[in-house]
Symmetry: C2
Subunit: 208 residues, 2 copies
């Protein structure tokens, strides 16, 4: 009956690094994870409360360094166990609902130029994404090589204390890059096919 509760585990995982507030978590996700994970405040704050109610995290008021009162959440031993249990459980590939791909698939009755426009919009979005990935990749590569937490990420996750955070961060980003590049390759292939089809049609090939 629909109960994966993934938000809980995402939060627990981040709290396993260091204590954070809901706001911190949101910012961290926006800065680094948004291309494979997202949370909204409407999920975050209630879930943090639920975590406390279940004894998986504890909340303490923290020094309000600018702004309003701040609630810092710290993971408990029980929370850590719960998180690790989840981490070790096998995971199915997610069921997708990709609107751009659906639109392309359904565009078959449209004139070829409209299909072309769809792919061009998609390509522009993928390119933009790749432009955002690339500088981060350089920073992370350098950081992993030197085994030092880069100043560009200062305060973002906290220093690497015997974990592989930097390497995992880089590898996660690498998947994003490789997949985005593959999608760009696909765009070129699709545009070529569509344009060839368009030419054949207007030259009096089978146009019904």
């Amino acid at each position: 009956m629909a109960a994966k509760r993934k938000t809980r585990f995402a939060i627990l995982g981040l709290l396993s690094w260091k204590p954070m507030s809901g706001y911190d978590i949101k910012k961290l996700i926006e800065m680094g994870l948004q291309y494979f994970w997202n949370e909204s405040y409407g999920q975050l704050y209630p879930t943090l409360e639920a975590l406390v109610a279940e004894g998986l995290a504890v909340r303490k008021a923290a020094s309000t360094s600018g702004g309003r009162r701040r609630h810092l959440y710290t993971i408990t031993a029980k929370g850590r166990r719960t998180f690790l249990d989840w981490l070790r459980k096998p995971t199915d590939l997610p069921k997708l609902r990709s609107e751009p791909q659906l639109k392309f698939f359904l565009a078959s009755r449209l004139p070829v130029e409209e299909g072309v426009r769809l792919v061009e919009e998609y390509r522009a979005q993928q390119r933009e994404r790749l432009q955002l990935y690339k500088p981060s990749e350089q920073i992370l590569r350098r950081a992993v090589r030197n085994d030092v937490w880069p100043e560009e990420l200062e305060g973002l996750i906290g220093p690497d204390e015997g974990g592989n955070e930097l390497l995992m961060f880089l590898l996660t980003l690498r998947q994003g890059i490789l997949v985005t590049e593959a999608r760009l390759t696909w765009c070129d292939e699709a545009l070529k096919s569509l344009r060839a089809r368009g030419r054949r049609r207007s030259l009096g090939g089978k146009s019904k």
Copy 2:
């Protein structure tokens, strides 16, 4: 306030090909679209009713060719307009929540072998998916070349009547293949990095 109603458009798009029942739509999605689009009966049947209530589709009882009574839904002119309006509206890239990627990212505190296990599971899933794609690709390629609807897809979508269904089907599949191959490439890269890291650790590199 959360209102994309994507299920409506997915259904309208499929009905724009030919009249179908809820069951037909579900089967079609399972057979060909599942890697980028999914719908459950709990969405499908109520949404079909809603479409009728809004005058975007009409329902008629159809010959029950085996099984229970059958409801065939046909798209209306208004439905077609609604569908095309949606198709032509710009689309943002979907916000993802990929559990496998989240787990990998959060596995940084785990021993390297556990990270390796995560990637190996993921790689096996991607390989399996690719094995499913490949035969369909051959069938569709041949079909597009000869411009005939292949018997393997008989009844699935209905014959190609001046649209580009076959080409779009093939191209959609191609994106799936290219992305899956990119993920497999990533798996190899990640395994190499993790294993190198594992060796360095056990040789007394920085292990805290």
